[in-house]
Amino acid sequence: MTPLSALLVRDMRLAVRIGGGALMGVLFFLIVVTLVPLAVGPDLAQLRRIGPAMLWLGALLASLLTLDRLFAADQEDGSLDLMLMGRAPLELVVLVKAAAHWITTGLPLVIVTPLLGLFLNLEPGAIAAVALALLIGTPALTCIGLVGAALSVALRRGGLLLPVLVLPLTVPVLIFGVAAASGEASSGTAFMILGALTLMSLVLGPFAAAAALRHGLE
């Protein structure tokens, strides 16, 4: 196996083993979305209106939940030192870790979205739109969160800093994600902007995260 595929397999394995984050993200998503109808009340029309926004908020918080362990776990046992020394470029290492995180936490969120859409009284068309928007948009959440995860490791201030750093940066993804899922006339444009945001964060995120990790060496 090449170094990077070995890393991908290891990170995915860790996520699904005991103490891993794969199931936690989905369960958290489930709980948040289940709580919404209880809090808002049994007004079906209102649920349908706010449904896509609630799904997006749930996905945002769920993917943030597991991000803080992304580099911290490797730093605590010295694995990160070996990755920094290694022959594989750090940018690619970071990208592979992001891919493993997305496959184990982002993708399951997309998969359970149709079920949770039913909880929120969404139409089949709207469910498909939200699921597609999440499929396109969640990689952006992971890649933006990557930078925060790397910074919080470098600054040794733990996970509490992460949401403060990351949430403001996810605002555009949230806005266009919800707009794309709304099913209005402008949602086609919103889909394209969402795709652009994901592509941008895919390119910039790993470089910024790798720079943050290198800076942490000081």
């Binding site: 090449t2 170094p3 290891r10 046992d77 010295g78 070996l82 920094l84 290694g86």
Partner: protein, 199 residues
């Protein structure tokens, strides 16, 4: 091959850890770094591993692979054992072997370090000494000319220390170099680099 350093200075958090350190090491030689706590033994090793930056000075590896930097040609064993509790012994070792560029199979490396029969045990159930052995197994599994070891014998029992000494001898005989920070004897002939004030 030849590893040389001159004028190394390390400043961390406004404090001078060490100043103007130099040494030379050639193929088949061991250097032990000794000194009191806080003298900068670990800092020197981390500096050589590229994990902290030197404020001044240079380290060079002559006649190594010119495409690779010193950290890329070195094994670093710090105080921590880079193992995941939820992976088995074999999975942990197989990951680092593939990640670091491949080499010996996990089976043979585990035999060399004395962990045969534990391959399918999750690393969570290992003792501190067994964790250290598993961590050192990657040094055997993947070939690197330079070994940077920070207190490698800590947590190892007498048999483990003897085995490590044997592995180090094999590594040196194969043209390797070792820099080790240590408080106790390693069980092999070594140069000494003394850090900190001489008492």
């Amino acid at each position: 091959m030849r590893l040389s350093a001159s004028g190394l200075t390390c400043i961390r958090g406004m404090r001078v850890v060490f100043e103007n350190i130099g040494f030379e090491l050639s193929t088949g030689e061991v250097m032990t770094v000794i000194g009191p706590n806080g003298a900068g033994k670990s800092s020197l090793l981390r500096l050589m591993a590229g994990l902290i930056r030197a404020s001044a000075g240079r380290i060079e590896l002559e006649a190594g692979d010119s495409d690779l930097s010193l950290p890329e040609q070195a094994h670093y064993q710090g105080h921590l054992d880079p193992l995941k509790a939820s992976l088995t012994v074999a999975e942990n070792l197989a990951f680092w072997t593939s990640y670091l560029g491949g080499g010996l199979g996990a089976e043979a490396a585990l035999v060399a370090i004395g962990l045969e029969g534990l391959a399918d045990l999750p690393a969570a159930y290992l003792s501190a000494g067994q964790r250290r052995r598993l961590s050192l197994a990657r040094l055997v599994a993947v070939q690197r000319p330079v070994w940077l070891l920070d207190e490698p014998t800590s947590a190892l029992d007498a048999a483990g220390q003897a085995r490590l000494a044997e592995l180090m001898r094999d590594h040196l005989a194969g043209g390797g170099m070792i820099v080790a920070a240590t408080h106790g004897p390693l069980g092999i002939e070594a140069k000494e680099l003394r850090l900190g004030r001489v008492a």
